[in-house]
Subunit: 213 residues, 2 copies
């Protein structure tokens, strides 16, 4: 801890700026998990974080922006997958996604999406997180194609939809059951899905580019 004795001993009521941000983001997630989107207010977040409302408003103009930032702050693991193999990349991606959805914060983004559809008002967080998952898959597939793997441009979007869809249902089914899932089981389930779908992603026996058309 390089911030010295005073930082370690400061009173909880007077956090420094970075601490306050961290506490506001944590409080926002906790509020959302407890009360859902309808009960989520900046007032309650400020109270829970032990800061003034104006401190929250200094950084976040409205509750949706705050919710987006707090969820994204806890979902770092979605991207940055690069194992050198398409199969391993896809396993890593889908394992990240299933772990994310099995965590209450990650699951909250699914809940936000569903509530947004029901109330016909999509909060930005939903669109942002979905877009990050889609983009992460796109990066992995494009890199594989650049390595010379025969990625089928016609099927790729639908195969990813099947993969992510199956993972979403797994997270739902898990949540509806009472038993817990070990991380080894999470990895195994994702590996099975990737091995099932991988052949659909590759163009076996595709004629070389110059003989097409």
């Amino acid at each position: 801890m390089g911030d010295g004795a005073t930082a370690a001993r400061r009173s909880p009521g007077r956090p420094r700026k970075a601490d306050a941000e961290r506490r506001i983001l944590d409080a926002a997630i906790d509020e959302y998990l407890e009360r859902g989107a309808t009960g989520f207010t900046i007032d309650a977040v400020a109270r829970r974080a032990g800061v003034g409302k104006s401190t929250v408003y200094l950084r976040w103009p409205d509750r949706d922006t705050l919710l987006v930032d707090s969820v994204l702050a806890r979902s770092r693991a979605i991207e940055d997958v690069d194992t050198g193999s398409l199969r391993d990349d896809l396993i890593a991606l889908s394992t990240n996604m299933l772990r994310f959805l099995l965590d209450p914060v990650g699951f909250a983004t699914l809940r936000l999406a569903v509530e947004a559809v029901a109330s016909r008002a999509a909060p930005q967080v939903t669109i942002d997180v979905a877009e990050r998952h889609r983009r992460a898959a796109g990066v992995v597939l494009t890199r594989a194609a650049e390595r010379g793997e025969p990625i089928n441009p016609i099927t790729r979007a639908r195969v990813i939809e099947c993969l992510y869809g199956a993972i979403t249902l797994k997270a739902l089914a898990h949540g509806l059951e009472t038993d817990t899932t070990s991380d080894a089981e999470t990895v195994a389930a994702c590996t099975e899905l990737v091995d099932l779908l991988l052949p659909l992603l590759l163009e076996h026996g595709r004629p070389p580019p110059d003989s097409v058309r």
Copy 2:
């Protein structure tokens, strides 16, 4: 209880029994769609249906049972698929499911599932509807196997999970966008998914390596 001659010209406040049930079920769905699971009370349903609370309790002991019945009453189309062909059965099944999820009542079952996971209290409706979808797929696959189609027993559950998962994501994506989906687009999207996944369901279904499809 004045049934008899006055029944034909009864006031809206005094429906006959079958009418009252229908109105209670409709009111329950409308209440759920408007207020979500947390705001759903038998009190409000009775008021909306124009019946006494005791009339609701005569038939439904608690709010979860009422919610299950009202959702199931509007989701008849899930089962009873039998076209004679596995591909067409799967297209019919998945089209039924996507139509169901694109309808506010069907979508409400997904919302219930997600809220149930978040609140760690799964209502029966969620489990019942998921089970009906799973069973409908099981019936279709078993019938195909009986006709002699080489259904792969190892992949079948996972392929259905991919199919239903992709459909769930489609319903979500649709709900988050502003444009509407025509029924022809719904059928086309489901047909594409089934044609993508069908080879994984058959034991020797994959095209030979040199064929280009």
